[in-house]
Each structure stands twice: as structure tokens, then as C-alpha cells.
Symmetry: C2
Subunit: 318 residues, 2 copies
């Protein structure tokens, strides 16, 4: 059976961290062997645009357009449209570059024409030369709502406008009960030989994907190995609110906390070498575990981690 895991890998991701692993996986696997399912509960309507931050982060990363430092947006993009919005007294807290606005205008107008987000994502990613399959978790509207000590906030208000400083009390995904996994997402999961949860925020990026009706059940009931990459390294998140949020919600801010969060779903957890003493604690939960360098700074870091994950899962789930 060795090698069959590489026939079809399904990677579930949110934004920056997941996008980096997607780039590494896309280097290791041919187009037909990788499907990336992306969180869309961070999507929002702003200035009349339908903005899909995670889809775009992954799309820009895979096409080589991504801003190398920000983690969002396009390299060398300019801020002229938003400067005008500011001058006209409009909201400019969500910074969209001009190129990026072009993407959002396309997405919004294609939605207006009645195309699905799945169709649009396929079109846009092909236009950018992406050969691997990129899928939104659903074509239906799901919105993350964060209840905080500063009131109930839409996700982007919490994340961008308030720079994730409010203390989170609970998280819900508005619209999730009536959302459907697309045919493409269901097929990808059915055909998966390996399912990977990228090093993304478990509560804000992976949970909404799992919460789409039938996705979690499909993964639970399937014999396909499911492994996660810990977004927590040395008690901290590489980027974003994962560690702060886990602490606020009373979770153990560690790879073990990640494993516990996904208990019942995970067969394996990849953690960082810095945390390798956590391996026994994770394995005590019935989840196999191993340690690699998981911090992805260069392209070779991304490819090395992807290759290590594939090799380890081939050996661990033969």
C-alpha cells in the first residue's frame, strides 16, 4: 500500500499557515492528487464586495502573488482605491490593495451573475495558473460570529478592525445548519487517501469547515487517515490569535490541546521539534504523533514539511 496515500490528499486550511503548507504540498503532489478545502466563514461583505480572505490567501500563495510578509494581499499592491474611500469618509480599516480589489470585483460580479463560489474559485485560480484544486468549504453563506467582552463582533471586525484584542467568550458559525458541502467537497473527501488539517487556527479556520453538515461525519466514519499539523509551536501561534484564543476558551495551549480539540477525528498529529516532549501526551489520547520543523519560512521549509508529512503518514498508516 506504500505510496497510495499520495494518490489523493485533501488539505483543510484557513489562511496564512495553511496556505504555506498548501504551497509545499503542491510542490510534492501532481494537480490531480491534491485538493485544498478552504474556510469561508471568514468571508464578508464590505463596501459591496464579497471578500473571501482565506481563499485569496491560498490562491495568492499558490500563484506566487502573495505578499511575502503581510500574510494577506498581493506583493507590491497599491492602496489607491482605499485612499479614495478614506477621503470620501468611508471605512478603510479593512485594507484592500488595488490588485486585490480587482479580484474581489471579479468574485462579486460573478456571484451577481449566479455563479457559485466553487465555480468562481476554480475560474480565478485557473486564470492565475493554479493547477491544483482549490475549493471553498461550501457555496452557502456561513459567517463566524465572535462573542467577546466588547460585544458580539463579525469575524473581520474582531480580527482586523479590533486586531483580535477583545477576549473571546464563544464562537458560532451563523448559517452553518443550513449550509451544504458542495458535491466537489464531498467527492474529494470520499476519494481522499489522506486528510490533513493544516497548521491553521483550530477554532476559527478548521472548526467551521468541520461544522458544515456531513463533513465532520464523513471524516469520522471514513477509514482514511486524518492528521493535523499543530499551529501551536512552543506555546505560541506563529501568527494570529490561535494561542490567545485557546487560552481564553480554557484550552491547553499546546499540541496536546490541539489533539484534544480534534479528539475522535485525528489519527495523527505533527508537532514541532521544539515540542517533541509532547509526543507521549498526544499519543496517550490515542493519536500517533511525530515531530518535524513546522515553522515554514522559506519555500524549502514548506516543501520539506509537506514531504515529511507524506512520508511519515505512508510509514505510519501503511
Amino acid at each position: 500500500m506504500t505510496g497510495s496515500i499520495r494518490d489523493h490528499v485533501v488539505l483543510l486550511v484557513g489562511g496564512v499557515g495553511g496556505a504555506k503548507l498548501a504551497v509545499g504540498m503542491a510542490e510534492c503532489l501532481p494537480p490531480e492528487a491534491l485538493t485544498i478545502i478552504v474556510n469561508t466563514a471568514d468571508d464578508f461583505e464590505h463596501l459591496g464586495l464579497h471578500i473571501s480572505p482565506d481563499l485569496d490567501t491560498v490562491m495568492y500563495s499558490l500563484s506566487g502573488l502573495a505578499h511575502p510578509i503581510n500574510g494577506w494581499g498581493i506583493a507590491d499592491d497599491t492602496p489607491r482605491a482605499m485612499e479614495m474611500v478614506n477621503r470620501l469618509g468611508g471605512p478603510d480599516w479593512f485594507r484592500l490593495g488595488d490588485n486585490d480589489i480587482g479580484t474581489n470585483l471579479m468574485r462579486t460580479s460573478m456571484l451577481d451573475e449566479g455563479k457559485t463560489l466553487t465555480q468562481i474559485t476554480t475560474h480565478l485560480s485557473r486564470q492565475l495558473g493554479i493547477q491544483h484544486r482549490l475549493l471553498p468549504m461550501t457555496d452557502d453563506t456561513v459567517r463566524t460570529i465572535v462573542e467577546t467582552n466588547q460585544g458580539v463582533l463579525g469575524f473581520q471586525e474582531y480580527f482586523v478592525r479590533e486586531r483580535w484584542q477583545p477576549v473571546v467568550q464563544s464562537i458560532r458559525f451563523e448559517g452553518i445548519l443550513t449550509a451544504h458541502a458542495s458535491h466537489e467537497v464531498e467527492s474529494a473527501l470520499d476519494e481522499a487517501a489522506l486528510i490533513i488539517f493544516g497548521p491553521s487556527n483550530p477554532y476559527l479556520s478548521i472548526d467551521p469547515i468541520l461544522a458544515v453538515p456531513r463533513i465532520k461525519q464523513r471524516i469520522e466514519q471514513s477509514a482514511t487517515p486524518c492528521v493535523a499539523v499543530s499551529p501551536i509551536i512552543g506555546g505560541r501561534a506563529v501568527k494570529g490569535p490561535a494561542a490567545k484564543l485557546m487560552a481564553e476558551l480554557g484550552a491547553d495551549v499546546s499540541p496536546r490541546g490541539i489533539a484534544a480539540h480534534f479528539a475522535g477525528l485525528l489519527d495523527g498529529l505533527i508537532l514541532d521539534t521544539i515540542d517533541q516532549e509532547e509526543i507521549p501526551k498526544v499519543e496517550a489520547l490515542g493519536i500517533r504523533s511525530t515531530a518535524y520543523r513546522t515553522l515554514m519560512e522559506s519555500l524549502s521549509d514548506k516543501v520539506a514539511l509537506a514531504e515529511n508529512i507524506l512520508t511519515w503518514t505512508e510509514e505510519t498508516y501503511p
Copy 2:
């Protein structure tokens, strides 16, 4: 009575030519003494944006932002959003600069919030420092449809995409019968001491304003002097399809043709000195006429024409 005409001038305009006269008038008259009513039948929805080309041309001209040569858009604007749209396979025939997209995002999102185009235009023009009143002809949706030898075209398809090359057979204003003049437009016309039709395309810019129910009747029935500035100089339009279109529709491509088109409404016609032999022909229609330099290249040209119009009407309709 001399001087009272300057108490409240209402200027009806389309795009570039009218915008130039608006700039001249705004230099001659204090904010409370000038209302500019702008054609919105050229408006259209494109890439999810509500675009109001004539309103923006006037707004950018009055605020000093206008591109000095194009006649549309903002000086030194950049094309990055549309470059991305092009890269993503979208329509890029309607060129919108990045700053300009900022304006259109604001307008579109304010419409989505339920604000009227009149409210939005007031907000945007004030943000840009414009003190004179700028009003869309209506808050309702009116769209110019052009029937041509190449089929039925939306206005911007005819004007921009096809560069006004198709031969026009007829023009209609979709939605006009159910459109309403806003309270602000009706008040401005009621309080007008002078009504001026700018040097705009009579068929495509002034006619749609007049076609809004009750606007033409208000002007016809009022004792207020109504004068037009001929957009035809020496048998040609300064810019755009006015002359070509008049010929296609069988009109006389001359100031007399303009006067005849507006017969019953006009009390006076300002024509260019190059056409001064037309004065008797115009006056034979019962319309007073005079000649000035009407080509507006510099700011002083604009101010001089505005001042000449005001002085002449004061003397002619005492």
C-alpha cells in the same frame, strides 16, 4: 430686475462639456446660487459597481481632481485593479482607475445601505470640498438604450466599448416613465431664476433629464429664462458623438439644429463666434441668440463663458 438671474442658476449637464461650464459657473456664483442637475441615464452596473459617469465627471471637475485630457476619471490615477480584472479574464473595456474605483465602491455600498443617489452625491461632493449643489436628475433607475445598426446596446457599450461607431437609429430611456424627479430637483427648478442647458449632447445628456416626468413641463410652464449653450461648433462636436449622432438621426448639425431640437423650451441659445452667421436662423425660431467663444480649454475660458452667459441673460431677459 438686473442681477436677480444670479440669485439661482440651475445648470443641466451631461459629462465633459457640461462639467467645464459647471466649473466656470461655480467660479462666478456663490454656493447657494448654483445647482447642477446631472444626467444619470448613462449610469450602469458593471463588475458589481454602480457607476455614474456624468456625476463623477462633474464632481471630479468641480473638485479639481479630473483628468485634464481624458475628460473622465481622475488625474494620475492608476489601473491596477482593472489589470487584475483583465488577468482574471474579466471585462476591462470600461477603464476605471483605482481612485475612481474607490468612489464607485463608496457609492455602491451607500446604495446598498439604502441611501439615495441624491444623498450619496451630496455626501461625496462635500467630502471632496465641493460647496455648490450637485444633484442627479433622479434617484430612480433610468438607462439609455441605443438602437443601432449593430443591434440594441446599453449606453456604455455603445459609447465606450464600441467607441460610438455603430450608426444610431433611435434612443430610448428605459425606466423613464416610472422615474421621479427628486424633491431637491423640483425645488431647484421652482426657485431657478435662470435655467441653462450646458454644452452637452442634446440627445444623450439633456434629453434624459428633460424626459424625467414633470421636469420638461416645469421648464415649459415656467417664466424663468432657459438658455442653451450649443455643443456644436463649426459643424462638429468638441468631444463625443453629438455631431455624428445628430446626422444619423437626420438633424441639422448646427446651432440651429440644437435650437430646433429644444424648440418650445428655449428662450436663448449661446453659440460659438465661429457660427455667428447662424444667429438669424436661430432667432427665426423665436429664440434669442448670441455668440461667444464657447470652446473651454483653460479655466479662464470656462469662467469667461460663464460670465458672458450670465451677463447676456441679465441684459436679454431683464
